[in-house]
């Protein structure tokens, strides 16, 4: 079994070498963004930078069948691999380990590059760790005299930060309305943080405040509204924490994309055992589009990025379901001389 380590390392080395050109993609896109910077604003350039975060990994998976031509039906070296007296499941496990390792390295490098790129094109050239505060389920849709309070989970971080509002419908009101923000830890009296005068365009509002530690909720309380109730529907409230270094930015982007990486690597690897190369390519791009096609799939929200924040991943350990694909990927390739093409 230990004899498979050199084989695995060799697979990793081959994959790493072939994936090196892919790390140029974010750089090329950044160059393009820099050229366009005068004509297109940050919000317009951001999707381009995010595209460069998305593209390298599917391309890397496409290279997989060419670099390791023994994974599935129709591959030119498959017969050679199957002739080796090695447990096939173990052989695939070691190959998957090398693939997974290289995919993680590639995605980390690309994430750091994209993080640097976003910082470069951001007007203030500063990125902060961002949390999207989730509203409590019993929140009223409108702030009115009858229901004057809306509550949100408090950020996990504490200390100095900025509160920002993103959705157009959030705090939709005429200017002049006043809202008080308080932090609360159940059992303790709430701490007043700020009182704000609601702007016409809430996206321009950025409220600097210092959060006390160990708080559980943030409350938004309508104090006075000469114009009637204020809509709070679909209201992502962002907490922009401390500024991030390039590595931290990359690390957060990497963690944000981790569920997608796992799906693409494990799902793609499983698919190699029964798909011919061409249809495998289509499948890889299908898997790569999962965050767009499946709304509940963990993905990076553009709203925090537009506010200059890198979202702190919210998915917890739920992405571990992707590891269920690992045993499926260990099934040896179809040996009927065909494979789905």
């Amino acid at each position: 079994m230990t004899g498979l380590f050199p084989f695995s390392l060799r697979c990793a080395q081959t994959l790493l070498k072939s994936s090196l050109p892919l790390i140029l993609i974010p750089g090329a896109v950044l160059f393009l963004c820099t050229m366009l910077q005068g004509r297109i604003g940050f919000e317009g350039l951001l999707p381009l930078m995010m595209f460069s975060l998305w593209l390298p990994l599917p391309l890397f998976m496409l290279l997989l069948r060419r670099q390791l031509p023994f994974l599935g039906p129709g591959d030119p070296s498959l017969a050679w691999t199957l002739s080796l007296p090695v447990p096939r499941g173990l052989h695939r496990l070691f190959t998957l380990a090398s693939l997974f390792g290289v995919a993680l390295i590639l995605q980390l490098i690309v994430s750091v590059e994209v993080g640097m790129g976003i910082r470069q094109i951001h007007p203030k050239q500063e990125l902060r760790a961002t949390e999207i505060l989730s509203p409590r389920p019993n929140n009223p849709p409108l702030l009115s005299k009858k229901h004057p309070i809306q509550s949100f989970s408090a950020p996990r971080g504490s200390g100095k930060g900025i509160l920002s509002f993103q959705a157009r419908r959030f705090l939709f009101s005429a200017s002049g309305d006043r809202v008080r923000i308080t932090a609360e830890n159940p059992g303790n009296p709430p701490t007043a943080l700020a009182t704000i005068r609601v702007d016409e365009d809430p996206r321009r509002m950025r409220i600097s405040m210092e959060l006390p530690p160990k708080k559980k909720f943030l409350h938004f309380q309508l104090l006075a509204s000469p114009h009637g109730p204020i809509s709070f529907e679909h209201a992502p409230v962002l907490w922009l924490g401390r500024p991030l270094s390039n590595l931290e930015t990359g690390g957060l982007l990497f963690l944000d994309t981790l569920p997608w990486v796992l799906l693409l690597v494990f799902g793609g690897f499983t698919a190699t055992s029964f798909l011919q190369t061409r249809i495998f390519g289509l499948m890889v791009f299908g898997l790569a589009l999962t965050p767009l096609l499946v709304p509940s799939f963990p993905r990076i929200d553009l709203a925090p990025l537009q506010a200059g924040g890198i979202p702190i991943p919210q998915f917890g350990l739920s992405f571990l379901w992707a590891f269920v694909l690992v045993p499926l990927g260990l099934f040896p390739p179809r040996r009927n001389g065909g494979g789905i093409e």
């Binding site: 050199p6 070296s77 498959l78 017969a79 050679w80 002739s83 080796l84 040996r335 009927n336 001389g337």
Partner: protein, 292 residues
């Protein structure tokens, strides 16, 4: 000695037993009419025997060897390897299979590739280097061991593939076109290896288009056509029926040989080819190689 080996062979159990073997490629893969690559093949290869598989392109030689080597699963019939129906890793360790497939990692130097494969299949680390060097020397690849094997000629790639197949000193060799792309020196190397293999009591199943190169080593030949066996027996039995003979005569000038042939032609025999032996080129190159 020979009598003893022959007696052992008579008592030997089958290394491979094939019963009503059938294989067809999936329809979506093989759209042409000829769906069946193998049809109702049955034969038995006793330990210590050497069987040659002959046939035109597409007759099923490689498919048969792939089924025997475990890289294809038959769609019908049964294969037994050393009495076992399941091709376990233990059985695979007794088999040296040279498939008609590309070797992976073409950028890797041949020596490192061989060593990596040797480690992967469980040869102890301290034995790997010496063992690989022996094989590379035997197959004339020692001087090219630091070159990427992807840049090798076809014959050199086959020699490297053979080295891989022989890493575990298998008792059963399944060789798919081992002589393809080989120069006479390579052919001679493989011949020598097959002779040694037979002397050790090993079994071999070799597909080839170059019967003349190894026919003296083959106990039996099997001719395939469209996935069926159309001829089985010794070379003499199978090809003798055709009434065409090949004679190689040495140490004689052209005029004398023409005089020798005259009576045969008068008896109504047809002369297909006449000229210096093609094998003379091989011997000439071998002679040069030995001198070097």
């Amino acid at each position: 000695m020979n009598q003893e080996i022959e007696n052992n062979r008579r008592q030997a159990s089958p290394a491979i037993k094939v019963s009503h073997l059938g294989f067809h490629y999936p329809r979506w893969f093989h759209r042409k009419k000829q769906d069946f690559a193998l049809q109702d093949l049955s034969f038995c290869l006793e330990e210590g025997r050497c069987l040659g598989i002959l046939g035109a392109n597409g007759s099923g030689k490689s498919t048969l060897l792939s089924c025997l080597g475990g890289s294809l699963i038959p769609t019908g019939g049964e294969i037994q390897w050393f009495g076992q129906q399941h091709l376990s890793v233990e059985i695979q360790r007794k088999i040296g299979f040279l498939p008609d497939a590309e070797l992976p990692f073409p950028a890797l130097p041949a020596g490192i590739f061989l060593e990596m494969t040797a480690r992967a299949i469980g040869i102890p680390k301290k034995e790997v280097k010496q063992h690989c060097e022996d094989l590379l020397t035997e197959f004339g690849l020692m001087s090219a061991q630091k070159r990427p094997h992807g840049k090798f000629s076809k014959g050199m790639k086959r020699r490297l593939g053979l080295s891989v197949a022989l890493l575990l000193n298998p008792t059963l060799l399944l060789l798919d076109e081992p002589l393809s792309g080989m120069d006479p020196i390579g052919v001679e190397t493989i011949r020598r290896r097959l002779v040694r293999h037979k002397e050790r009591g090993g079994t071999a199943l070799v597909s080839t288009h170059q019967l003349e190169e190894i026919e003296d080593l083959l106990d039996r030949i099997m001719i395939l056509d469209q996935g069926r066996i159309v001829g089985y027996g010794t070379v003499h039995e199978v090809l003798g029926k055709e009434g065409t003979w090949n004679i190689e005569i040495a140490d004689i000038d052209e005029e004398s040989i023409q005089n020798l042939l005259q009576p045969l032609l008068e008896k109504g025999a047809t002369l297909h080819t006449f000229g210096p032996s093609r094998q003379a080129l091989g011997r000439f190159l071998l002679h040069l190689h030995k001198e070097q």
